[in-house]
């Protein structure tokens, strides 16, 4: 079957798919940057938020940071394997990355469950609104990334579309980058 022309076309010396992923990341910078910047300016204008932040679980946040950093490692190792044409190894590393995503979400689930059952809900005050919005939007990106990685790993295992391993890896590293900034803002600054 003939592939769509966009699949193999190179625009400005960059494969179209890769350029598209960078555009997505660029737009995500504005989305997450907007959320983080809004949080930051409110936090600086509201000293009482320091008290609300006392109730976030620093250890859970730190553990999830470790999980995401590790999943970024497995994502880049998958890319390295794909560069060498080793689809099976790339698929295995991608599945390990999915494992990281699932672990992250489980920890987040326990964390949110504790906070919600103790009365810290999205409507409690602006701090918790930002907390659930920022972490929630990020978690949705984690879920989307995990689903895409399962799909890409299935193809990679058959030795197909290995260039997509790098593309999903770029997206995943960006998700990790966002958390690197969310962690100190939501969990450490108390």
């Amino acid at each position: 079957m003939q592939k769509p022309i966009a699949t193999n076309r190179s625009s400005m010396g960059i494969p179209t798919g890769k350029l598209a992923v960078w555009w997505v990341i660029g737009s995500e910078i504005v989305i997450f940057g907007g959320i983080l910047a809004s949080y930051l300016m409110h936090r600086l204008g509201h000293p009482e938020w320091a008290n609300y932040a006392q109730h976030t679980n620093t250890m859970a946040g730190a553990f999830n940071t470790l999980v995401l950093l590790t999943s970024s490692l497995t994502a880049v190792l998958a890319h390295n394997a794909a560069e060498r044409g080793d689809g099976k190894r790339a698929a295995n590393f991608l599945l390990l990355t999915v494992g990281g995503a699932v672990t992250f979400l489980i920890v987040k689930g326990f964390e949110w469950n504790y906070e919600i059952t103790h009365g810290y809900v999205i409507s409690s005050n602006q701090f918790w609104s930002f907390y659930y919005t920022a972490a929630g939007v990020h978690a949705m990106h984690v879920i989307a990334g995990a689903i895409l990685m399962v799909w890409v790993s299935t193809l990679a295992r058959k030795g197909q579309e290995l260039q997509r391993v790098e593309l999903i890896g770029l997206y995943w590293h960006f998700v990790d980058l966002v958390w690197i900034f969310l962690f100190p803002l939501l969990y450490i600054a108390k």
């Binding site: 008290n51 690197i180 100190p184 450490i188």
Partner: protein
């Protein structure tokens, strides 16, 4: 050359390096990950000292270092084509523009000709609740959700 191999070669050829490949062994990435883990430990332990400057440096300064390391080593942004830098840079500029335009209105609660009464009230209520909490039982198992809106 197969279609898949063609895709793969094309992907590899755009990295900006002479051979179209990053050329790093797996051990290089493991080393970067280990450094990131050490930085994470510092960013968690630093604020425990309770010194504001140390907290700023260890928590937020290190976050920028970690982000730089991920972007450079895992995303290979350093060998990416200039157009990618322009795209990302433009988005960052828009973000800073947004922040700069709105921040004074949000961070300050009064100016020469205006006063943000609601924000002032929210801060006052929040601080009052904080004092009451610290003066009372002090633990976080009270389940009141933290006060004002």
């Amino acid at each position: 050359m197969s279609e898949h191999a063609h895709d793969h070669d094309q992907s590899g050829a755009d990295q900006g390096g002479d051979d179209g490949h990053h050329g790093h062994p797996d051990s290089h990435y493991i080393k970067i990950w280990a450094i990131l883990c050490v930085l994470l430990m510092i960013s968690v332990l630093g604020p425990e000292l309770g010194v504001q400057l140390v907290t700023l440096i260890t928590a937020f300064g290190i976050a920028f270092v970690k982000a730089y390391m991920v972007a450079k080593n895992f995303m290979h942004l350093d060998v990416e084509k200039p157009i990618i830098h322009y795209i990302l840079g433009t988005c960052l500029v828009f973000m800073v523009l947004f922040f700069s335009a709105v921040a004074p209105d949000v961070m300050e609660h009064d100016g020469s000709n205006w006063e943000h009464l609601t924000a002032k009230q929210v801060v006052a209520d929040g601080l009052e609740a904080m004092e009451a909490e610290q003066g009372g039982h002090g633990d976080d198992d009270h389940g009141d959700g933290g006060g004002g809106h």
